[in-house]
Amino acid sequence: MNLQPRTRWLLIVAAFAMLAAACGSDGESSAADGDAGAECEVGDTDGDLALFNWAEYIDPEHLEAFGDEFGIEATMTTYDSNESMLPIISAGNSGFDVIVPSDYMVGIMIDGGFLQPLNFAAIPNSTNISDDFANPSYDPEQAYSLPYQWGFTGLAVNTEVVGDDFPRSWDLVFGEGASEYAGQITLLNDPRETLGAALKSLGYSLNSTDQGELDEARDLVAAASGNLAAFNTDSSDELLTSGETVIAHVYSGDAFTQFLETDNPEIYEFFVPEEGGTRWIDNMAIPFDAPHPCTAHTFINWLLDGGQGATLSNWNYYGTPNAESIDLLDEELNEFLTSPAVLVGGLDSVESIADTGDFEINYADAFTAAKG
């Protein structure tokens, strides 16, 4: 009973604290909107490195090597999707110095003001990046992000069953001939990837926001679904190598690592069909309120060194955007990444998935309808 005045007092204090916090955050975020990148010299560190990354995307020992070289502590925390990373950064004071958002998420984060512009004077190794990755659509000035790793989405085929003489085309799954392999085909269980494949096969952009084009793609996927073993993302590569399927819609990195797990990797072939497919790029970026921006710049510069880039790719087996790293890759990986047979339609045929804003829901609806 006698606690009551105190309780009321506490409530008032709490209310003021929240108010003060809210005001404080307004002031801070507008201060962080300044255009210039952090003022750091090459190799500067201003504290420990807190990396926020996808699981199994860098060797823990590799990260430790960075810490040892610069006499700091480097820690990594993992997330499982771009969407679960975004709110943590956007709420502010996340404590992270470097994050690894995918292509479309970079665009969203730039628009939201959640990334700080990079100071390229502190990242001389940015010139190592291959021209294929210059000025991407999601960061046209390449002011906020630099590529980390990349991969394609395409088809993987068991040539022991399908033979070598088949069209390197999406017709393999969407065309007439697909019925020959009925029940032995998987498509990714992902609206943007699978409808994107259908859009490409029809000759449209995989970022189409035209409802008519999307309807055509939906009908194509619906027609193909009769020949499918499953819409499967998690284990489509394993289903292929275990012999349950013969054609799989897969991510290049997954397919490649899975091939190497088998006794006879040469019987499998991965390619991006001639009509084109998806190229995804994960990027390094620095949150707007990163506590140690100089360490972050130093880390990005360090990882863009040719040797470090090769170490990274040789561990996670994804593609490297680093032109200086290509020759240092494991032979098998190098062969896979540089083979012209992989990218049948050439670099111009591939697109990155872009955020279509409110149209995303149309993709989700169309995919649900196509799956039936």
Partner: protein, 272 residues
Amino acid sequence: MTGSITEPRGVTRRLLQANAWFVYLFFYAPIVLLVIFSFSDSRNVGVWGGFTLDWYGDFAASEPTKDALWASLQIAAVSTVVAVVLGTMAALALERFTFRGKKVFDALLYLPIIIPDVTMAVMMLLFFAEASKLFGFTKGFSTITLSHIAFSISFVSVVVRARIAGTDQRLEEAAMDLYASRWQAFRHVTLPLIMPGILGGALLALTLSLDDVVITQFVTGPGWTTLPVLVFGLIRKGVTPLINAVSVVMLVASTGLVGLSLIAQRLRSDTS
């Protein structure tokens, strides 16, 4: 003996038995499969590839997995202890005393049980983002532990209250009549009586903390990835039996804890 409810017979009885068996089947068949395939020598969780202990070896050799397990255990231990103390205190206050605002407090205490995880996660995220700016601390162990305490208190207090409601308050009064101080009465009479409830609440809090993905993922900070959050991240690259092995280890650990607490209770009742 004539009970007020007669045991069902014939078809009803058989249907009820079948129902019970089905319930057990649905509960335990997935667990059995999970355990079996953790010993499978194939990357594909659906294909048996012969017996192997490799996945457990991988688990033991994987630095990130061990770090995540250690992080989970630290957070679970601290959050459970604090939540049990606070939850028990709240339960005692609500069951034993009347005070102004009791009804409001009571209703508020149920809130974390009722509101969806995501809602709570977003609230916590915003709260800690502002609070850490204001007081200048780094998110991580502190924020994850605090949020686990916050949702565990409710569960602990519900379990403990049920136990308190089932005990006879007159025993405590009798002890005080016999010149026990308030503390002595609590220590030697009340506490032992409600101990099963407290242990039950503690196990619940521990499990909730070890399990939580949604809230933890939102309030985490540099260097703190818990095991369930890591497992979620790994699943993105396909489910391998490594995840089964991790799950089996957690399963054995949590059933071990339950077993231990049961043994502890039995020993206690034997000696008294």
